[in-house]
């Protein structure tokens, strides 16, 4: 199996802060891979190391088998790290031309790519007049116009309005299908990851806490949501299987067949049950559960 990105024992410290803590992760080539994690989880640091922007304190990172950050490994990679920025005196067309020259890709179809990302009419406008969404779209064109085999997109919809997010999401899906590149996508938008990615890794405090196919991670935590009082009594009955979900509700991690017995037990214990509803398993609850547990896990 070939890997698009490999990290082995990767650690990066900034003074007392450990941005990456002995991270080992292998991202397979092909498809769309999501990297999830709260702020400060180490996603951007991982990408910056992969692209040679920062050097690891210890450990090794490889892109398609070659040392990360090395010119030979970067030749086949396109990346958008955080919100893309451009020299303000350049137009969108000039910015792509400059990047094409820098990459030695003078024959890149700049006009065609500006059209594909919906910037044809703004091609000769200075990038300093662009909205965040337009900059993100130009960033996507800059990632893909040299036809890389690996594209790294760090928060590609950050700071955008819902319509813009939808638009960019569609664009990424379309580009992934049309270009056939491996895409590694970091995002806070769990819905975005669920819709776009095949596999995900979840990072927390610089460590890998889960990794696997989206359906596996999302599907392993069905829960019965009980609106009941007193909540403390419900949690006592459930023990390790329960956790509070707001001030007046509890999530019970039980099998469907156990529900009638649980409800009888709760009523017997003097609990008033106002509502009992199965909450279908989703990536968000899995993500929150995993982050709460903070235990290294492997869903493969």
């Amino acid at each position: 199996m070939s890997f698009a990105l490999e990290a082995e024992g990767l650690t990066k410290t900034y003074g007392a802060v450990r941005a990456l803590d002995d991270l080992t992760l292998k991202i397979p080539a092909g498809g769309v891979f999501g990297v999830l994690g709260p702020n400060g989880a180490g996603k951007s640091t991982l990408f910056r190391i992969a692209m040679g922007l920062v050097r690891p304190t210890s450990g090794v990172a490889r892109l398609s088998g070659a040392p990360a950050g090395h010119a030979s490994s970067l030749r086949q990679v396109g990346a958008m790290i955080e919100t893309p920025r451009y020299p303000p005196y350049l137009t969108a067309r000039d910015a792509l031309k400059m990047l094409a020259l820098q990459s030695g890709a003078q024959d890149a179809d700049i006009g065609g790519w500006l059209e594909r990302v919906g910037l044809a009419e703004a091609a000769d406008r200075k990038t300093s007049t662009f909205s965040v969404g337009m900059k993100q779209r130009l960033g996507l064109a800059a990632v893909f116009f040299t036809r890389p085999s690996l594209a790294i997109l760090d928060e590609p919809t950050s700071g955008m309005d819902p319509a813009g997010i939808q638009e960019i999401r569609e664009l990424i899906r379309r580009l992934a299908a049309e270009e056939g590149a491996t895409i590694i996508l970091a995002s806070h938008q769990l819905d975005e990851v669920r819709r776009v990615c095949d596999r995900v890794a979840i990072l927390s405090k610089g460590k890998l806490v889960a990794e696997g196919p989206v359906e596996t991670l999302a599907g392993r935590k069905p829960a019965l949501r009980l609106v009941a009082s007193p909540v403390a009594q419900v949690l006592e009955v459930l023990g390790d299987q329960g956790r509070a979900d707001g001030p007046d509700a509890v999530l019970a991690q039980i099998e469907r067949g156990e529900a009638p017995a649980l409800i009888r037990a709760l009523v017997g214990a003097g609990v008033d049950i106002h509502e009992a509803r199965w909450r279908e398993a989703d990536l968000e609850s899995a993500y929150l559960d995993i982050l709460q547990a903070k235990e290294p896990a492997d869903a493969r």
């Binding site: 040679g52 350049l90 990047l99």
Partner: protein, 268 residues
Amino acid sequence: MLVDALAAERFRLLKDRGTVFWGVLFAPIAGLVLTIGGELFARRLMKGAPPIPVDLVGRMVKALAGGASPVMGLFVLILSAAVLAGDYRWETWRLLTPRNGRVNLLLAKLATAAIAVAVSLVLYALAAALGGLFSAATSGGAFVAYRGEALTDLAGTFAVSWLQLVVLVALAALVGVATRSTMGALIGGLVFAAAQSMVAAWMHEPSLKALLLPAFSGDLLKTALLQDRSVVDEPLPWAKALAFLLAWAVGLSAAALALFQRQDLTRE
């Protein structure tokens, strides 16, 4: 590849009209305007004075010899700060470093700035010649031949002044990378340029200490080039002066490259 980085930097600089104006064109334009203004003012002040002979080559040699002055240095530093440290200001290193090697990127910037400085110096000399033509046309002064080796003096003064300005470019690169700031590059370079010019003005003997100053070495080289060889008592240590100037340019550039290669671009 370096050739790709050079093409990208050249393209980018030509699109940055503000930097091209202030860093490349302003000094020649200002020089020409001041020459013409001075000519008109002098004419009004000294009505009836006989026309002054015009030595076009002499004017160009004089302009090139003074081309590394601190004032010229200011405009070179504006250019250098924008070219060499602009990516920290615009946070655009993250856009560039994945596309080419770091050494190539910074070398291309150094080369682009050095070429732009050369263009500015040539324009500065041409502006001096244009000023001479204006003087001849308005005052009726006759053209006179240059008393010296025109080509040698033009090329020599150009090369030495250019090398002195390239030292400033390299210094701006080092300070710009170290401080990650265009203002750092500009102010650091200005302080250095002003300080070394002042100290060099106090030094008369070509001692080792004096030769260490790029301003002193540069002036000594130009003096050695333009002096009347028949009245020279002893030859000036021009080889040492040239070696020091080259060492400054290469050393500062190498230090900037070494620092940039190891630098974490967490936040540009």
